[in-house]
Symmetry: D2
Subunit: 284 residues, 4 copies
Amino acid sequence: MISPTATLLISCPDQRGLVAKIANFIYANGGNIIQADQHTDFTAGLFLTRIEWQLDGFNLPRDLIAPAFNAIAQPLQAKWELHFSDTVQRIAIWVSRQDHCLFDLIWRQRAKEFAAQIPVIISNHPDLKVVAEQFDIDYHHIPIIKENKQEQEAKQLELLQQYKIDLVVLAKYMQIVSGEFIVKFPQIINIHHSFLPAFVGANPYHKAFERGVKIIGATSHYVTDHLDAGPIIEQDVVRVSHRDEVEDLIRKGKDLERVVLARAVRLHLQNRVLVYGNKTVVFE
Amino acid sequence: MISPTATLLISCPDQRGLVAKIANFIYANGGNIIQADQHTDFTAGLFLTRIEWQLDGFNLPRDLIAPAFNAIAQPLQAKWELHFSDTVQRIAIWVSRQDHCLFDLIWRQRAKEFAAQIPVIISNHPDLKVVAEQFDIDYHHIPIIKENKQEQEAKQLELLQQYKIDLVVLAKYMQIVSGEFIVKFPQIINIHHSFLPAFVGANPYHKAFERGVKIIGATSHYVTDHLDAGPIIEQDVVRVSHRDEVEDLIRKGKDLERVVLARAVRLHLQNRVLVYGNKTVVFE
Amino acid sequence: MISPTATLLISCPDQRGLVAKIANFIYANGGNIIQADQHTDFTAGLFLTRIEWQLDGFNLPRDLIAPAFNAIAQPLQAKWELHFSDTVQRIAIWVSRQDHCLFDLIWRQRAKEFAAQIPVIISNHPDLKVVAEQFDIDYHHIPIIKENKQEQEAKQLELLQQYKIDLVVLAKYMQIVSGEFIVKFPQIINIHHSFLPAFVGANPYHKAFERGVKIIGATSHYVTDHLDAGPIIEQDVVRVSHRDEVEDLIRKGKDLERVVLARAVRLHLQNRVLVYGNKTVVFE
Amino acid sequence: MISPTATLLISCPDQRGLVAKIANFIYANGGNIIQADQHTDFTAGLFLTRIEWQLDGFNLPRDLIAPAFNAIAQPLQAKWELHFSDTVQRIAIWVSRQDHCLFDLIWRQRAKEFAAQIPVIISNHPDLKVVAEQFDIDYHHIPIIKENKQEQEAKQLELLQQYKIDLVVLAKYMQIVSGEFIVKFPQIINIHHSFLPAFVGANPYHKAFERGVKIIGATSHYVTDHLDAGPIIEQDVVRVSHRDEVEDLIRKGKDLERVVLARAVRLHLQNRVLVYGNKTVVFE
């Protein structure tokens, strides 16, 4: 519907005139802002904003926008990212044996809910190769045991480079990614099958069943080297009862997992998520 | 926590430079924007925004802000409202016989969830006088029948003027307010006990029971002269089952009604609701 | 986990001793009840129950259960159905052009969430043949226009008989099924893309957008010859805002539609839905 | 609507014929069952049931029901409770300084949502005496410090006996009740202001804010001597965003807390909650 847009995600120490300065930069170059949203974290003294404008009629060529904006950002001590809406990001989906999130992500990409490509699926198991073939996506089986983790992660990293991957989505990968890996490739979104921080770690549905909770949840977050403790992007829940066995929790949870993960991936791809500290601002 | 602020709610035909012009006006006068949110309705070609800034350090005295901003707004063909956060609005609560919304609104006002005064309660029944007395609020019993509606509405209007009322909240008033009245006093928020537009009109819980729905809802909206068809501010729902009799729907619905109405009143009092056409933009 | 079970769904005029009589019938024949649930509709004077027991150790052979229970049911003027949990029902999925519910139903059947077979897909468009082929399911393209509706429905009916279909699932079929058809094949579940009875008929998302609702929904119901007015099995909702264009409502709605339809189909397949009048009792 | 009823809550080792035996006991004495629900915990090998029947026309006098049923229950090794719907339970509400749950419980009791009396409020602070007076309820201020906890709990226990209390509701009491106290008076329902087991202990809203969750919750549970780890009766959640400061979480949480606590108290008063192990079966 809308022609290509540029988006700035900015965080900087709060001060007077920030909105004016940023808006002036866009207006002075002929840009039409279509969405501007902002948040001030008073505790941290931080101003956080997302501004999106139409490139149609914008006088600066794309490659000059970043240097031009840098001149404004530096005196403000701003951290910022610039994105273009017609950049097609490349996703690697990592899976283990469960196929529900994988199917869902592929379906959404085919249905154009995601402006992204999915050139490769990586797994520590061979089980889902058949799905990859069904949708004509490359599949790499990289089995991981304690002893070979380091070298297998090196292979995974190589694949990410080879496939020019922008984002790794852990679609029920069920393995811990090492801190060293994350340093080298930090853009990783995970789906955890509980309402974090309840039930961190393995077997959250079994733990939820044991505890007798009346609601279960799923959480999508960026991966950090603290297990299940990265910045949360999206969460959702569903009601359960004493009638639900562990297998019912797992089944109901699957519906949550795929929707929560898909929402998080979509928000990320639309450059609507700004991470600061261990939190996110989600500009919806 | 925050010193007094000013808020502009603006709608105008979309064009380049709107954010810049408005932000510049505030920055040029030394204001610090603490929240700016904006929405473009592409179908209507409308730009809608809410900007809130600290008055502390703002160079324009309060009474000059409106004329100064008018000079900017007129060439943009903008419709706009200016509000100050320390203005204490005065609410008249209109009730019939049910007390749950009334109690809830009074409790929230006492708990400082609303920055407002509630000097008067108006009712077509005498039943809730006792509540008014308990909380030391004036109570006016104005019984209404078909034959005296016009003259009773005149009395109601007189009371609103006498008590310097800014907002009427129909907290289960169960009577239709005439179009003539609304023209004279348009700031009226109602709670309807269904998920509109399902079950317009009387007895929505009975109708919901008849239809066998699995979810019931409540809707808070501005009152217009089309029954239950005004701009919706807030809605919420709760799950029901075949076990729920009509009286259970009514009981569960009460919990919805008071929360939905309270949220709508709070959003209105914080000047977060911008009405255009028959819709609202809610800047949360 | 559990060996095969038998399930009785019973509705009859309320009277003393119903639970005892039914439970005695099962106990006397050595059955172990694993779930018994019951509901009394006092307005209608109706007793409605679902009883499930293990066939393992039950002394009556399967083909004698119905006649034996009939002797008990007749004096009670009971309407009843008997089902066995290892009966694999056969589903025909009817679609138009949208694939999300179709994909979802097939995925769930493959994932064993449904104990059912899906031997055939019927559509008035050729678009989704490719999906049918991908999953090796027969696909019949039966285009329908006003002039040929009667003869095309005859063809559809023939296919249902040929494929020994127990249940038709309208997975976004977008066509009205005639009253004559429903009489001949009454087991039809539909998904409607609104929170019924709001937005009956075509284009509910456009209507929801026009009305400015803050929540949208989806409804799964049995099909009757009153449009979108059949007994509701399941509903769910999702929050929307002024930021959501019609296309966002459609996208968010798809996630609702597939989950709501899947829940309804699963409940039906597990013989948990008892229809009476224009309502359902859902024994969860 | 319905004449007085008797309710049996039963748990016993699973075996054939349980439903029949219990239903026969009621039928043989002329009782009309109006609700029967049952659950089997296959892992624990436990049968759990709730049966409610009309006393009108029941041949056994009330005081003979328990001994008569005991003759049936003993050979089944059943644990059971017998309740009558017209027994008016007596509640002591314990509070600290916050009034929202207190107001809500009182309002519901006045509105007849609870068939109970509230003769006394106990608090470690004097603040809410004014509310007690407003509604003509006795108020006992029992300040607690580390050094006097034991003797103050003795006073509290004495008050419970004096007022013939059946149930203590901790309506934001914010104090830990000792294990010794719980042994002497085990019927205690608490509201915890988080989605347990996330954020056990003090200041859950601050912890939720720190963690950056997108949803907050409230949990009502029976009190045991493990902090915030007792059997959960009811939970609910509400969505939050980066815009919500700690004070917003607290405000939004209050709406949850009062509804979740009220639901739990109501379910308990209607004898719909069966505790086994550290879990509940809630027969809704």
